[in-house]
């Protein structure tokens, strides 16, 4: 053995530590991967050793490697081993590694539950801290469920360090285990007023985070936050709260009114820019929420805008950025106040910082007017030229188009100018927005009739130079504009000056390199052009020219007939045959031009975006039912041509596509695929064309015949050419010409205004669609899905998943009747919680769960009673009183008498309620706006109060619900007012006042504490409490509070106990059986602190005393002495009991089972109210009340080793008789003795 140790430490000497590893990696730059793989081999060797130090070192190195991107999941188990070391050093390494490497799918996480629980309840606060930190990174739903109670207990730990971590991690727990939110919320709320600023800030943090996702459930906290906002000086907390208010005000405008003043004050007074900025932001949110103006609104807006201007003018780029960001929020509702700062914003466009330019761009959107549009766009175009990096350029491009096209081209006075801008934009290399430009070209050309001539000329030039654009096969690339160009030239070919030239351009061999859907448009529109050309040529009576044209078609079309793209091929071969036939006729000198152009006759009108919706569903048509079982191929074929629509009316068709929800699409696709696979006649589409199906499914109504022609398959990936030179030259020429034109047009603004009207005219043409009812019908299927369209938006946000989860929780929790939630989550919660009580005021925690439930019940009852059934009230109250008291004691040591007196006494129930109302009215008068604001809010949203009311409802009278609602609302108001009142009180004193205030009904119990004196001398005083550990039936935790009573510094405290056979102090690994434990802190004069020691016990049926010694050094300024203090630790049998809730039916079964032995005891002369008596038993002896009927109660508790202890307590006169049953008679006897003793002392 000794050898082994020596060997271990020798091995260890040659291990690399982290620094060596880092150094090594730095020295092996050239063969890093190789070096690291040898290191990993070494680490694997190290992990195989027994020595924990070696392992820890290895894990430490692994953590580093993980950060470098190496997969270390294979070492997960070793990490767990290191985590479970008793030494803090190693534990910390282990948890760090875990927090880096573990994720939900790490299976060893399951193994860590107990270890983490142990660490959470460790006497060393830093063990707990490290475990909390680690857990926060890798908490899984399972861990969250299993540890929620432990963590909740820690929220009331004596150390603020632990409290704040526990509070913070609760957010993670809520996310993973939503059911925990409800039981934990009251305590979380309590922590908002924690004396420690760190804890307070953590609680604010968590609640803000929760509220951000689901503000309406937290509206009821507004008064509390309001108070915090006006009282807190911590800027972090203030910022959080102010941000939270920003989220709340949209839901409750009255809150906003109340906020403006304090926020304005803050804006004036604060020197912290961050705070100022958030205030401005929230004021903006408030102003947005207050749609109708209060008189002083404009002042607030002016203030905000002014402050923002200061920010924007600041030389600090950060402030500038944020100022612009906030400005854009104002823009939405108060564009005028922003417009006056146009100069500033335009200036920002020239900023060297891209982020700032982007923000300024956002603002521009709202600044344009008819007057300045051209000027602004010109400026933007300059930026486009200068811009480096495609992202910013693309952003500019979309902004230009957005700005110009907004509200139906409202600000465009000259469409020729716009067209030329669009054409100029096509020069952009590598842009992703060719499609966007194309759809704008189509839109304008179709809707603005007056511009068609100009547009066609421009497009013809584009087509002429098309070969310059091809070559770059970027998807959505600029060649997409050729689609628009070809279609416009074909459709409006009558405007072409030289159709023959364009026709040739469209039939160039190069075209074959374009994406299929563009080629298809080319082919189709070449046919249209052909018709036009024929017409003009036949008019000339020059038949050879016409025949030459036909010959051209016949020569060139075969190229397309060979196309791999089905659509292109089909159209081309069709048209080729047609032209051949025409040629035949021509050779016979037949005039064909009329007939040919008849093929393409008819004007195409745009369809209003909402046209489809307005088509009534024919009677008897069920849009949701399948017509044929599987969605057939034909359907998908139908869909393809509709891509046209997508092009022309992007707004329309895009949502359509999404409408068919993903699942269904997948289903259909699947079905289709299968059918296709089984269909020997089906030629499988290339993958790209399959994509087309998915993209185009929405466009089903291709009512307008012409459309079919132009819309081909949509194939991803578009070629683009780099040959911009020529194109650019031409552009410039055009530009010059355009500029002249522009000037002219400016003068003629009115005229083009008319052009605008044209477009709006056709837009509303809804009669078009009805003609194609069949199409409409199929189209409407997806339309039904429209609502789900909105839903789809949420999932788009990857983070919504989380939110939704939480939302569901909160909402569900709030909606659920109390009874439900109380029984399930709360109970189990308690059960789990009770064991964990070792933490700080263990007693308190163990009883709290009980309290909570009883509290809630009471509250409900209270409310009810107050309003309706005062007589019934008393009974119920009695039942719950005793439970409450326990709670009050725990939480309410600081509680104010005022509050308590306000509460109903059993005796004086009616008076109290009136007093409460009185105070309520007073409070209302005092602070009317706030309570009002909150009172209107959905009552369910409040975690505490709503429960009560709901409970009431469900319990008392479901049928009366409606009636109750009104009353409830009133009640709610009253309650809230009362609540408010409490707040005022609590200003002066205990924070728990609020909660207790609503809860408490009975005479207050005297403060109780389970801590009893351990030993005391002139230097130090020790009090202690013992709590069982439910996770481990053989462990108890002794919490000792050390208090320094002298003027000197106490240090090097060592706590040691002489172990007995039965009970042993747990010492860290490696220390001897008689070593003392170092108390992990030092005590300055007058300070007290708590340490915890874990003991293992074997038998728990007998009480036991252990002798021990505390040694410590008393350090004065000049001298130090070594002192010691002997003590005796008394392990009572009670300390092995754990408060465990029990249902009455389970309790009855237990008693019936007959396994339990009986015993009883009588206490004489007990002079205290029954509920006090019960509270004492609960508190001091870790029992819970199962049921109480008048002066008789059954109680239950459980030992750490699973013994059941049942009590039946009866009172008559001053005699208390306790009948008890337990499966371990010795234990029972001892417990009863201890109970007896408790009461003999008082």
């Amino acid at each position: 053995m000794a050898l082994k140790i020596v060997k271990g430490s020798i091995d260890r000497m040659f291990d690399k530590n982290l620094q060596d590893l880092v150094r090594g990696i730095r020295n092996h730059k050239e063969d890093e991967a190789k070096y690291i793989s040898t290191c990993i081999d070494e680490i694997k060797q190290e992990l195989k050793q027994d020595n924990i130090a070696v392992k820890a070192n290895a894990v430490c190195k692994l953590t580093y490697l993980q950060m470098l991107g190496y997969d270390v999941s294979w070492a997960a188990f070793n990490i767990v081993e290191v985590m479970s070391s008793s030494k803090f050093t190693y534990k910390r390494i282990g948890y760090l590694a875990a927090s880096q490497c573990f994720h939900e799918s790490t299976d060893v996480i399951m193994l860590t539950t107990n270890q983490i629980r142990k660490d959470l309840s460790s006497p060393n606060q830093y063990d707990t801290g490290v475990a909390l930190t680690g857990l926060s990174c890798f908490v899984t739903p399972d861990l969250a469920r299993d540890l929620a109670n432990d963590i909740m207990t820690l929220m009331s730990h004596t150390k603020p360090y632990i409290r704040k971590k526990a509070v913070l991690i609760m957010y993670k727990v809520f996310l993973k285990y939503p059911e925990s939110l409800r039981p934990a919320f009251p305590r979380l709320k309590e922590k908002l007023e924690d004396p420690d600023p760190g804890v307070q800030s953590a609680a604010v943090n968590v609640i803000c985070e929760l509220a951000r996702r689901n503000p309406k459930n937290y509206l009821s906290l507004a008064p509390l936050f309001f108070k915090l906002m006006t009282s807190s000086t911590n800027n972090w907390v203030l910022i959080k709260i102010i941000k939270l208010f920003g989220a709340l005000t949209p839901l409750e405008p009255r809150l906003g009114k109340k906020l403006i003043e304090p926020l304005t004050n803050l804006i004036h007074s604060t020197s912290a820019m961050s705070l100022l900025y958030e205030c401005v932001n929230t004021v903006i949110a408030v102003l947005i929420s207050l749609s109708s103006g209060m008189p002083n609104h404009s002042a607030s807006i002016q203030l905000c805008v002014q402050k923002l201007r200061i920010l924007i003018e600041d030389s600090d780029q950060n402030l500038k950025y944020l100022g612009l960001l906030a400005m854009s929020k104002i823009l939405k509702t108060h564009p005028k106040s922003v417009q006056s700062h146009k100069d500033l914003i335009l200036q920002c466009l020239d900023d060297k910082d891209e982020s700032i330019r982007l923000r300024a761009l956002d603002l521009l959107y709202g600044m344009v007017s008819k007057k300045n549009l051209m000027e602004i766009v010109k400026k933007l175009m300059l930026h486009v030229d200068k811009a480096e990096g495609t992202t910013y350029r693309d952003e500019l491009l979309t902004k230009i188009i957005d700005i110009c096209s907004q509200s139906n081209y409202q600000y465009i006075t000259n469409f020729e100018w716009y067209i030329s801008i669009l054409v100029e934009l096509t020069r952009l290399e590598g842009t992703r927005h060719g499609h966007l430009i194309a759809s704008q070209m189509l839109d304008v050309a179709i809707r603005v009739k007056a511009i068609r001539g100009f547009a066609v000329a421009q497009m013809a030039t584009l087509l002429d130079n098309a070969h310059l654009l091809t070559g770059n096969m970027q998807r959505m690339g600029i060649c997409e504009v050729l689609y628009a160009a070809a279609w416009i030239c074909g459709e409006f070919s009558e405007h072409l000056e030289n159709p023959m030239q364009t026709l040739e351009a469209m039939l160039r061999p190069k075209v074959a390199t374009l994406p299929g859907h563009i080629q298809a448009v080319y082919v189709q529109n070449a046919a249209k052009l052909f018709a036009t050309v024929l017409k003009s040529q036949e008019g000339n009576t020059d038949s050879t020219a016409a025949q030459e044209t036909s010959q051209l078609m016949i020569d060139r079309l075969p190229l397309f007939v060979q196309s791999a793209n089905l659509e292109v091929q089909e159209r081309a071969s069709c048209i080729l045959q047609l032209v051949k036939y025409i040629q035949k006729l021509q050779q016979k000198d037949v005039e064909v031009a009329e007939e040919v152009s008849a093929l393409f006759a008819g004007e195409l009108n745009p369809v209003a975006p909402k046209a489809q919706k307005k088509v009534p569903v024919p009677e008897g048509l069920d849009l949701d039912s399948w017509i044929n079982e599987p969605p057939s191929e034909s359907e998908s074929e139908d869909e393809q041509p509709k891509a046209i629509f997508a092009k022309e009316e992007p707004k329309h068709s895009r949502p359509r596509r999404e409408e068919v929800d993903e699942k269904e699409l997948a289903k259909r696709r699947e079905a289709r695929k299968q059918e296709q696979a089984n269909n020997p006649f089906y030629i499988k589409a290339s993958p790209s064309s399959q994509k087309v199906y998915q993209e185009a499914p929405g466009v089903e109504h291709i009512p307008v015949v012409q459309i079919d022609l132009s819309v081909p398959l949509k194939v991803p990936g578009l070629p683009m050419s780099d040959q911009y030179v020529k194109l650019e030259e031409e552009r410039r020429q055009k530009e010059r010409a355009e500029k002249k034109k522009k000037e002219k047009k400016k003068r003629k603004e009115k005229r083009s205004g008319r052009g605008k009207k044209h477009d709006s005219g056709p837009e509303s043409e809804e009669d078009i669609t009805p003609a194609h009812q069949v199409d409409i019908v199929t189209e409407e299927m997806p339309e039904n899905a429209l609502p789900s369209d909105d839903d789809d938006k949420d999932p788009n946000d990857p983070h919504k998943a989380l939110d939704i989860d939480l939302d569901n929780l909160v909402e569900a929790a709030a909606r659920r009747p109390l009874a439900d939630s109380e029984k399930l989550p709360v109970r189990s919660h308690r059960a789990a919680e009770a064991p964990k009580s070792p933490t700080e005021d263990g007693d308190a925690t163990s009883q709290e769960p009980k309290k909570k439930s009883s509290k809630e019940k009471r509250e409900k009852k209270k409310d009810k009673d107050r309003d309706r059934k005062k007589s019934k009230e008393e009974k119920k109250k009695k039942k719950h009183k005793h439970e409450e008291k326990g709670e009050d004691l725990l939480g309410g040591e600081a509680e104010e008498p005022v509050v308590q007196s306000e509460e109903t006494n059993e005796v004086a129930a009616p008076p109290t309620s009136t007093s409460a109302e009185e105070t309520a009215t007073v409070a209302a008068a005092e602070a009317a706006p706030m309570p009002e604001a909150t009172s209107g809010i959905a009552p369910d949203s409040e975690p505490d109060e709503p429960k009560d009311t709901e409970m009431e409802e469900t319990k008392s009278s479901k049928h009366k619900k409606k009636k109750q609602k009104k009353e409830k609302e009133e009640k709610e108001k009253k309650k809230k007012k009362k609540h408010h009142h409490h707040h005022h009180h609590s200003d002066g004193g205990g924070e728990e006042a609020v909660q207790n205030g609503t809860v408490e009904e009975e005479e207050p119990l005297p403060p109780m504490s389970n801590y009893c004196l351990l030993a005391e001398n002139s230097y130090v005083k020790m009090v202690y409490d013992i709590q069982g550990n439910l996770q481990d039936g053989s462990q108890v935790v002794v919490s000792v509070i050390f208090e320094n009573k002298c003027d000197s510094f106490l240090k090097s405290m060592e706590f040691n106990v002489l172990d007995s056979l039965n009970s042993k102090l747990q010492r860290p690994e490696g220390s001897g059986p008689h070593d003392g434990l170092t108390v992990p802190f030092q005590l300055p004069p007058g300070v007290s602190n708590e340490a915890r020691f874990v003991f293992t016990v074997q038998s728990i049926i007998m009480p036991q005393k252990l002798k021990g010694t505390l040694t410590f050094i008393v350090k004065n300024e000049d001298s130090s002495t070594h002192e010691k203090l002997d003590f005796k630790l008394h392990f009572t049998c009670t300390s092995y009991l754990i408060t465990t809730p029990c249902y009455s039916d389970a309790f009855a079964k237990l008693l019936e089972s007959g396994d339990l032995k009986c015993s009883s005891v009588r206490l004489e002369g007990v002079n205290m109210p029954f509920h006090h008596l019960l509270a004492r038993i609960c508190f001091h002896h870790h029992f819970s009340v199962v049921e109480r009927i008048d002066s008789c109660a059954s109680m239950y508790s459980r030992s750490i080793q699973g013994h059941h202890v049942c009590l039946l307590v009866k009172v008559s006169a001053q005699t208390v008789s306790i009948d008890a049953k337990c499966d371990e008679p010795t234990l029972l006897g001892n417990v009863l003795d201890e109970i007896k003793q408790t009461f003999s002392q008082c």
Binding site: N17, F88, Y161, G198, I239, N318, H799
Partner: protein, 180 residues
């Protein structure tokens, strides 16, 4: 909620590396005189997220936060973090951070926990870090004395040892000793 990219954190290894590379790429090419915010790309979680960074000499401290955090607040927090590092390492330099990544993490964990801001008070942070470091020392640290000695030896370049031991010295010493 807030994610912290802070040079080297994150989950799935490949994604993590990609994010860090991308982030570094974005951040490092920015001038010092531009603002310290970067709009969220798809990589870091979408438009709700921002990169907020500070640049100190050769180091970038990058935080990735969502809209629930105050931008300026986070800039302050980074400052607090860096000052804390400076205190804990006594004039922190790049190499400190490179060689003591674990310690940096421990400090960071006192500032940010599970993606949420835990503590903003520098004194509180340093106190907690110090106490824990003292605990570690009292336990003998990870590499207790022998290991440290060994690593010191290892740090010397072994082939150079003969050269470093100047035999001449011994010779000199010997004569000086002999008369005595």
């Amino acid at each position: 909620v807030q994610n912290t990219v802070q040079h080297v954190l994150l989950q799935a290894e490949d994604m993590q590396q990609q994010i860090i590379r991308e982030t570094f790429h974005l951040v490092s090419k920015r001038d010092d005189n531009v603002c310290n915010f970067l709009e969220g790309g798809s990589l870091i979680g979408g438009s709700d997220y921002k990169l907020i960074y500070r640049h100190y000499a050769t180091l970038y401290f990058v935080f990735c936060v969502d809209s629930s955090e105050s931008e300026l607040g986070i800039l302050d927090l980074i400052q607090v973090f860096v000052e804390t590092l400076d205190k804990c390492f006594e004039n922190v330099c790049e190499l400190d951070l490179i060689f003591h990544m674990d310690k940096v993490h421990y400090i960071l964990q006192e500032v940010v926990m599970g993606g949420m801001v835990l503590e903003t008070n520098m004194n509180e942070i340093t106190t907690q870090v110090d106490v824990q470091n003292r605990m570690e020392k009292s336990e003998g640290g990870l590499s207790a004395a022998p290991a440290r000695a060994v690593s010191a030896v290892k740090n010397m370049n072994l082939p150079e040892i003969p050269r470093n031991i100047n035999i001449g010295d011994i010779n000199i010493k010997v004569p000086s000793l002999s008369p005595f």
